[in-house]
């Protein structure tokens, strides 16, 4: 065990003692996680548990310093924990390669920790851990980085803003279907078309491609009905072409369809091109003849921007290889479908080549394969130094939290740019948003002996039976029960009352929200964290616990009335502000992080498997950011959201199913 004399001198003996006794959970052993695990193991922490679903990839090694080349493909959590054990052999560090959203990690499990750290790369997992920490009443140190930018904050349920008190920008950018399919104007439109439409239709599973009108309002649908019908016909024709996969002229037929016939159809609608630059049909034979001497598509330079003729050669090469793989799969009796993976060289080459051919047709600047990879894979840059700075601040905050110095904790932002007066900006921790739909809730634990026997009706009966007692939840007679986005019960929908909880997916680890349906009710909605009964070790004398019980009343927070100026509904405010924040267009901010718009008629979406967590920058910081920039931007955009987080690639620390 390393000694801690200097730490004690600086932070005081109590902090060192608290750190040594605390059980801490680190969720994520990637860029921030590696740095944090190192800091904790060297800052007096002795009981450290790390969870990460991911395995190590070559592109992690520029920053995830606990990993070496020989560790590639191994579990991040395990390798990281072994490394910190080597740093400080006396510590009790454990690792789990797992998804933090698994049911096993329920409210009791989270409650076994004194402090939790989020070192995650995706919004969904960060939200989940935030909710679990609120339910288990465990403080959470939250973090995120993206390139040169980063942030750290401390969340203590009821006392500070939680992760969801401020709206976050959408994790994935979406585009109107007509932009993608008929009127692209930017490289990204062509990449989305190549990946989500062309690749998915030709090589993906049947019906894999997005429905054309998905997400469109009825009015929009009516307006675009004619075009949508056309697009559907087009897609069907392409799907038929997919059956020709592996044929000798497959690539040529695909080319003729998408770069010649479909463009001819678009050109037949002159109205469409009155305000826009009209596309040109591409000529297969002419391009074929114009290939650069010596260009070898198998050895194409990722950094080079290929000429149209070379893109054609790359397309034909990649399409051939992908087709062979599909045919091979089918021969072995499999479905014969490929999913786009940015680290699959053939898939990437196909998307890059076809996106660039489309760019040539529409007069859009073509891109290198390297650049297309970032767009198709939603890669967010990541460097060692930002993660080091953020994780260092997390360790300091942790010592403050453990010694109950919450008032000294802060939100800190790592910023970057020429001549900025600050590289790290701090703000005091903010009070919770009184309208927050996540932390302004009463969190209670629902203990269930057997989720296969207890019904939803039993739960509601128990809640109603509490009426008039000291633990009245004040929800009244009319209650709505919701899990995630699923409505399980309301006064007009009682189909599920007799169903066992397990049937409804309500098992330990899940949360059931109960809210009053009475319009006049001021009752705070209740979130019941489902958990198993506590084991009764060696207590034969005690009566058996009831099969169903609600715990946690003693620490129910008191929520005051809403302020008069509070908007009626947090959700709509969030949406409005998100839209407001993005009103400036799809600009890239100073730091290269994409500022996401809340797009109106979003239809085609980039696959979000690669999108990182999204951090938020508060009003105050945004004001300062604005003040730093000259000239100041539109002051009405109050809040700006950055996609902020460490990883990008497939390094989602917790993968969604």
């Amino acid at each position: 065990m390393r000694t801690t004399g200097q730490l004690a001198r600086v932070f005081g003996e109590p902090a060192v003692a608290q750190a040594a006794a605390a059980r801490v959970l680190v969720v994520g052993a990637g860029g921030i996680g590696c740095e944090l695990l190192k800091n904790l193991s060297m800052s007096g922490f002795r009981r450290i548990h790390a969870v990460d679903l991911d395995t190590i990839d070559l592109s992690n090694l520029n920053r995830q310093f606990l990993f070496r080349h020989r560790h590639i493909k191994r579990a991040k959590a395990e390798v990281a924990v072994q490394a910190i054990r080597d740093f400080n052999p006396g510590i009790d560090a454990t690792a789990r390669q797992a998804n933090i959203k698994e049911a096993a990690y329920d409210v009791d499990w989270f409650g076994g920790f004194d402090l939790v750290f989020n070192a995650l790369d995706n919004l969904e997992a960060r939200r989940h851990v935030n909710a679990m920490c609120l339910a288990a009443r465990v403080p959470l140190v939250e973090s995120g980085t993206a390139g040169y930018l980063g942030q750290v904050t401390v969340i203590s349920g009821g006392a500070t803003e939680c992760f969801e008190c401020q709206p976050k920008a959408a994790e994935r950018k979406t585009y109107p279907v007509c932009t993608i399919r008929s009127t692209p104007t930017a490289p990204i439109h062509c990449v989305v078309w190549a990946k989500d439409y062309l690749f998915a239709q030709l090589f993906g599973e049947q019906g894999d491609a997005a429905d054309e009108d998905q997400g469109m309002g009825a009015e929009e649908k009516a307006e675009n009905m004619e075009e949508l019908l056309q697009l559907r016909t087009e897609a069907r024709a392409l799907a038929r072409l997919a059956d020709a996969v592996g044929g000798a002229d497959f690539a040529q037929r695909v080319f003729a369809k998408v770069f010649s016939d479909d463009i001819a159809r678009l050109l037949s609608m002159p109205d469409m091109w009155r305000q826009r630059r009209a596309p040109v049909q591409l000529d297969y034979a002419a391009l074929r003849a114009g290939a650069s001497a010596g260009f070898d598509p198998a050895r194409a330079d990722d950094q080079a921007v290929l000429a149209a003729a070379d893109s054609l050669a790359l397309f034909a090469h990649a399409a051939g290889r992908l087709a062979q793989r599909v045919v091979g799969q089918r021969r072995r009796g499999a479905a014969g479908a490929l999913a786009f993976d940015k680290d699959d060289d053939d898939a990437l080459a196909f998307v890059a080549a076809t996106a660039n051919l489309r760019s040539h047709a529409f007069g859009i600047a073509p891109q290198s394969v390297f650049a297309v990879k970032a767009m198709a894979g939603n890669i967010i840059p990541a460097i060692a130094s930002t993660n080091a700075i953020v994780a260092g601040m997390m360790a300091t905050q942790a010592l403050l939290v453990l010694t109950r110095r919450l008032a000294e904790c802060h939100t800190a932002y790592v910023v970057y740019g020429d001549g900025r007066p600050r590289t790290i900006i701090r703000e005091p921790l903010a009070a919770p948003n009184p309208r927050c739909p996540v932390c302004r809730r009463r969190y209670l634990t629902l203990r269930v002996a057997d989720c296969r026997r207890t019904t939803l009706g039993d739960v509601l009966g128990l809640v109603r039976a509490l009426e008039g007692t000291a633990t009245d939840l004040a929800l009244g007679e009319d209650i709505a029960a919701v899990e995630g986005s699923r409505i399980l019960y309301d006064p007009d929908f009682d189909d599920n009352l007799a169903r066992p909880l397990a049937d409804l997916g309500l098992v330990p680890g899940k949360m059931l929200t109960l809210a009053s349906e009475d319009d006049d009710s001021t009752a705070v909605p209740v979130i019941l964290s489902i958990a198993a009964q506590r084991p009764q070790g060696g207590a034969e004398q005690l009566p058996p616990p009831p099969p169903l019980a609600i715990e946690g009343f003693e620490s129910l927070p008191e929520f005051g009335p809403l302020p008069d100026d509070a908007p009626d509904d947090a959700g709509s405010t969030a949406a409005a502000e998100a839209a407001d924040a993005g009103s400036g267009a799809n600009d890239l901010d100073d730091d290269g992080a994409i500022v996401l718009d809340a797009d109106d008629d979003a239809v085609v979406a980039l696959d979000d498997s690669d999108v990182d967590s999204v951090g938020h920058i508060s009003d105050e910081l945004h004001k300062r950011k604005l003040a730093d920039a000259t000239p100041p931007r539109d002051a009405s955009s109050k809040r700006r959201a950055l996609p902020g987080s460490e990883e990008n690639d497939d390094d989602d620390v917790t993968m969604d199913d």
Binding site: R2, L7, R9, L61, N62, I383, A384, M393, R426
Partner: protein, 312 residues
């Protein structure tokens, strides 16, 4: 001016394997910067926790060469913060042990523990005060090498950069717009330590300069600075540096001096990680000539969570 990169093969291209390894950072600063980074040589004179942190970040990023210079033996206090040092390293020269361990981190980077004879793009003096700091700073000026002084002690840290009279860089590289060439002039350390801010009013001074920077200046300047100092001794050192430059004494309050004195002579990893991260970032800016390096002081207060930059 000697350019360390000059003896590396010019225009050598970054290999595909390197692009794959450094993918996530090349997407941030570009291939050209990565190439400059690989052709650059940096010296760290002084091994402390912040040296390890900064070197780790630079080795991961793929810098060309690092020389570490500090032949003092590994001591018990080092083991508290140097995670690459083990019990068996006690008594061995710090620079040799650190160089050995850093090499394992990225085999592409040349890490040496040796003298400071070769030419460097940047020399970083870590934890040096008084004449020792001055000597390194002056030597760099004479040799045309860029100089950085840095330290992390307890809950505080600083860095000072002297990128010579004319540092050329590309600024404000924004998507879609070509980066602009720019230059910045830097002050030698001695001049900065004697600089007289042209503001007399305490409030306005405090707005322009974080009080901590004057405490750090007193530490860097002071030959009488000891390994461990009482608040009174540090107070006297701060008073001296302020008085010599006609800066109102009131700019630095006693509470801050007391907190710094308590931190002085101790190292903690949490703070060193932040200062080392910032230090690596500034060294990267200097050698890649992308964006302006801090001109010329940066101070960090871990409890407050402030990282502030100013020119003195």
């Amino acid at each position: 001016m000697q350019v360390a990169g000059a003896d590396a093969p010019a225009g050598e291209e970054i290999s595909k394997a390197e692009v794959a390894l450094y993918d996530r950072q090349i997407r941030l600063w570009g291939l050209e910067a990565q190439g400059r980074l690989r052709r650059s040589a940096v010296c760290f004179d002084g091994v402390k926790a912040v040296t390890l942190e900064a070197c780790k970040n630079l080795v991961l990023a793929g810098i060309g060469h690092i020389t570490i210079h500090d032949s003092r033996p590994v001591a018990a206090a080092d083991l508290e913060v140097q995670y690459y040092f083990q019990d068996g390293d006690m008594g061995r020269p710090k620079d040799q042990v650190l160089a050995e361990r850093l090499r394992l981190l990225n085999p592409r980077v040349d890490v040496q523990a040796q003298g400071m004879d070769r030419a460097f793009d940047v020399v970083v003096a870590v934890g040096k005060t008084g004449s020792a700091a001055q000597a390194v700073a002056e030597r760099c000026r004479q040799r045309g090498e860029k100089f950085v002084a840095a330290d992390s002690f307890g809950l505080f840290g600083y860095l000072f950069a002297d990128c010579l009279d004319k540092h050329e860089y590309l600024e404000g590289a924004k998507e879609g717009a070509p980066p602009q060439k720019a230059t910045a002039a830097y002050r030698p350390l001695a001049q900065s330590l004697a600089a007289r801010p042209d503001v007399a009013n305490v409030q306005r001074l405090q707005r322009k300069y974080p009080p901590l920077v004057f405490v750090c200046q007193a530490l860097v300047a002071g030959d009488s600075v000891e390994d461990e100092m009482t608040a009174a001794a540090l107070e006297a050192a701060v008073a001296k540096t302020l008085q010599e430059r006609d800066i109102p004494r009131g700019i630095v309050d006693g509470d801050l001096v007391g907190r710094v004195a308590q931190s002085w002579g101790a190292e903690i990893v949490a703070c060193a990680a932040v200062v080392g991260g910032t230090l690596a970032q500034e060294v990267l800016k200097i050698v890649t000539q992308k964006d302006m390096p801090v001109n010329n002081w940066h101070v960090y207060d871990a409890l407050r969570g402030d990282g502030i930059t100013c020119t003195l």
